[in-house]
Symmetry: none
Subunit: 357 residues, 4 copies
């Protein structure tokens, strides 16, 4: 391995600010969930990360819980071996479940936030991550303790920013409340599930937070665990993720058999037709659709092979094709657009009027 560091080239990858922060993230980033360090280990991890880097992805997301720490270990190893320059990377990890059965092994206590961050950095072989996420809310810990602990992690230099994952609007509001009151650093983003069949939270519940705090999102499962690739359009193939992780996806699979599930598959078939019409794949259309949302900062991609990374990045070319008319057609297929906030009959503002959020 040469000492020469490869120089990052964003290629045609669009970059965005991560929420209202100064950090730039690629519109598509790479995540380790279920794959890197889990079903994929060793050289293939390196090939996947290398191809991502070469295609403009410089953000890599993992979590202490992914593959019981092996995701952090593998991703850290590969980044070192590829000699990628640290300041050109955006590396993120997430804390919550920890490891082991001890009552203090996880959650968002000050103890676990500090011990967990240190353990994650050690596994990755890094001095710091760019963003540390609270992987879930923890209603058994006072919000003040949580915000103080993440602030501590940042002041220690172990992370530049902190963020949340799957918190409710009320919990995020409280985090901002505490941060503002105590002059502490507030979270900048939310790692939320967002795909064509999961819209209420990212598209409605979070609305006041986008406008007030400039919150950004780093979305996960934007292909609905594969459903939006179209590969289940004609049943569940044997080598699919649903078949392989049948335990994990048991409920998901079961629900696909129900009338609501069948309804979804019908919609995916229509999306597949639309994708063909646009000269792209169902997956690329679904990914671009999430990326196109103005509050999305980055769509986290999963991948089990380098080819899949390249395949999914075709979504970049779909972005400009998502015209108002095409978006309208997608809504026509989905029929699940979240309601606008209730104004309770307040006089509507004109086309240039700006609501408070």
């Amino acid at each position: 391995m040469s000492n020469e560091q490869p120089v990052f080239d964003p290629k045609n990858m669009p970059f965005r600010r991560l929420g209202n922060s100064g950090l730039r993230v690629p519109v598509f980033s790479l995540g380790g969930w279920l794959t890197l360090g889990g079903t994929v280990v060793g050289d293939p991890v390196k090939e996947i990360i290398k191809i991502a880097w070469e295609n403009g992805i410089n953000m890599f997301d993992t979590a202490e819980v992914y593959a019981q720490g092996k995701s952090e270990l593998e991703m850290g190893r590969v980044i070192r071996e590829l000699n990628l320059p640290r300041h050109e990377l955006v590396i993120t990890t997430k804390l919550f479940w920890g490891q082991g059965k001890s009552p203090n092994a996880g959650g968002l206590s000050r103890k676990h936030i500090i011990e967990g961050t240190q353990a994650s950095l050690k596994r990755m072989g890094l001095d710091y991550v760019d963003v540390i996420f609270a992987h879930r809310p923890d209603v058994t810990v006072p919000m003040e303790e949580i915000v103080r602990a993440f602030n501590y992690v940042i002041e220690k230099g172990w992370a530049f920013y902190w963020a949340t994952s799957e918190w409710s609007a009320q919990q995020l509001e409280e985090a901002h409340h505490i941060a503002s009151k105590l002059n502490l650093i507030a979270p900048i983003a939310e790692q939320c599930q967002h795909h064509m069949f999961h819209r209420e939270r990212p598209e409605k519940e979070y609305l006041p937070l986008y406008s007030k705090y400039g919150m950004g999102t780093t979305t996960w499962s934007s292909l609905a665990s594969g459903l939006l690739t179209g590969k289940y359009n004609n049943g569940i193939p044997e080598n699919s993720r649903f078949a392989q992780h049948s335990d994990f996806f048991k409920n998901t699979v079961a629900e696909l058999q129900k009338p609501e599930g069948q309804e979804k598959i019908k919609k995916v078939r229509e999306l597949t037709k639309l994708a063909e019409e646009l000269g792209t794949s169902t997956a690329a259309l679904a990914l671009a659709w999430v990326a196109r949302n103005p509050n999305t900062s980055t769509v986290i991609l999963g991948a089990t092979s380098p080819e899949q990374v390249v395949e999914n990045l075709k979504a970049i070319e779909v972005l400009p094709k998502l015209t108002a008319e095409v978006l309208e057609r997608i809504e026509g297929i989905l029929q699940n657009k979240p309601e606008a906030p209730n104004l309770f009959g307040r006089p509507a503002l004109d086309t240039f009027g700006r609501p408070a959020y």
Copy 2:
């Protein structure tokens, strides 16, 4: 009319603090919605308020929008005519919809909160109310403006406390955020819909607010617009509220015809059986069930006649009958208990452990 003021006697009415405030409210209070000043005017209003007062109800709730201001006019007139002592009363009103077409005639702008409060007090002939409610959230006004304006109303002496109605947990959290940050007075209670078929918001969404801020509720529609009296157990009678206000309740009625509606009526029939078993009415059981919730401060009753007030107050006697076993049976009938907050696998706390919220 004698100059002698009638002396309030709480009788067997239980009193509670209104949220975490020092104000005591009767567990059952009287509201003017749709009735007082609307379908009921003149002497009957006086008879209803008189019987309520004589039965331990000293809290009367109205709103600027009820009967376009006539509810405030009528209730104010009657209280004066009955010569009820102001300091023994708890009088509340609510602002939001205002009157007229002007874009500034309603909402929660500083302008409408101040002008609207003054107009309400003038209609009621009062110097102050005990609690002024924001009748709905107004997402087109910055929360700081709203909290500052209600604080102003209190500092002016026009109200002792302020509260909200039908705000989301996120909105309430923000109101507390602003109040705390600016050292202003925070809202003390929420006037929310709460009945056996409407539980998610009061029993789940608001959970963090009860424990953190001691929020109380003043519930409305606790009989589900009459559905929980059992009077629709065998169809919609001609003289019922649903028939009379068919426009207003159009949707409600329509929904009763649907399978979900029929399912509800089936449950009410079972509740009726349980009520008979407990020696009370379906309505009294349903009211007591809401009143028994530890976060309920007061259940607001509607009434079109003095008899109805007396009838509904039988719920007081039902309160001690709502044992753990009976509550369990009610859950068995309703099958709609909101899920507990997701702990995401965090080790359960012991039986005395209090979650952070």
Copy 3:
């Protein structure tokens, strides 16, 4: 005059929030500068305000200095005589120059802000105005004194909001600084000169304030003292404002004779052609152009006759005609678009990227 109050009807007037406040203002409002109480007195003032009200204008702007207080006197008198309902009106006035030669007769000292507000209210015969403006910045008074004094005026109930006029971005930033630090009420809007030949301040200098504080503008001189009506396209007519107020407009007139002035008139001639093409007047085009700016809350119109009000309100119909293409053509004529903020080579964000302001 009947006791019956006329009911406000917004007609086709679009309404907007005044900056980030809850107050709604009509996109076109009426101001008293140079006319009402000045060159126009008595019944004509009433006719002008009446026609404005009947055409959806419920906001009236004046200042203590306009016609040495006579503008406030006249406008107050007329509003009373027309019996217009106070809560459906938005009345604004402005303090700075005061009256008389005493060193304390004007400026933004606590003394003049409080004494001046009281004097204005007395002249207008009102208990309060909706918005009180600092008519200019006063660099001889500490900002803390200014912000505290306007906060006092609001807490006294003499105004619902305060705002500024012709302040620099630095001064506005400082006002927000002080308000935020001392938990006082911040200004919500800027009354700034904004027309096709005066763009730097409203379109560039204020940019960070629009996004950070939601500042709105109430624009004055949007017809460039008449230049943008096209009436000087062929010289200065005898009965024009420039001729009548030759002292006041001496400089303006002199500048029109210079090469730069002649250049402007040439551009107005081109705008006149464009207006004809759009089936409207040059004035209506110029007014709509300012109104169309997303940061404009209201364009303040001057008027010397009822006909002029009606004439200028034709701008409402022009608003939807200002398509991207038409705006492009206007820029092509004006050639004075302010430069975008300097990013100093920072990587441009993609089309969905949001800069910090």
Copy 4:
């Protein structure tokens, strides 16, 4: 090289506080822009820094962007080799443009401020600099993030103070706002362009900041890229900076050909006459004129040879010659004195009256 450290002797160099800080800086300091590490490398760098040190200059300014990091490398190397005592030096560097194409390689994100400071220190071989400058404003990053990050750098011990370069008054005001609100360290100085033909910003726009926050300036280009040496009085000589860096100065050169440029050269010729009359050079006069401004903390000199340092330091002797009368004559030549702040007719204060800013 001996272990003996040379002892600093200020000679006749006047020292000033750097703004309202406790740090003393020489009125003339040495900068690396375009020269040290760029057109000048190796031994000449050492000779220049040595002669500066021996003539009372103990402050050296560089930036991460100067010669793509080589300026920091060279200046750091020389200071070590000359064995100059760290505590007798004032070393400053500036962050903004970073290096490389990565979207996070520059700007004022927390990431780049922290990573960039560490990289600069590494290049210079230092544990800390005295002052770290934000080399430009970054409107794509929230001010809170910027102020927090510089505060972090100081708390880490990597710098004693932070400052800005070419920020607008509004941006500086906001930085002080945030620092004051969050109890963080505020910037102490501005590295701004200031010379006889560039006066608006340092002499007018920044006025409120000098008086309120005691801001100082470290001026750059005080010879107007050489124009004020008089060497272009008779055209552009072949070996001049304008000729050598023709790309960089293309616009500057082009502008000198225009009427405005010719006007400037005419003025420089008059300044040359005045300089001769005062027995000094045009350059020394121009430098002394900036140094004499009461808000200037230090004038940063560029140099391509040791002789040039000595030559420019003749400005020290000019300082006492800049009497009120001479300054008046300079204004007579320049004819570009910025207007005083508009008082809008407020009664003038007496000769000892201090305006609020």
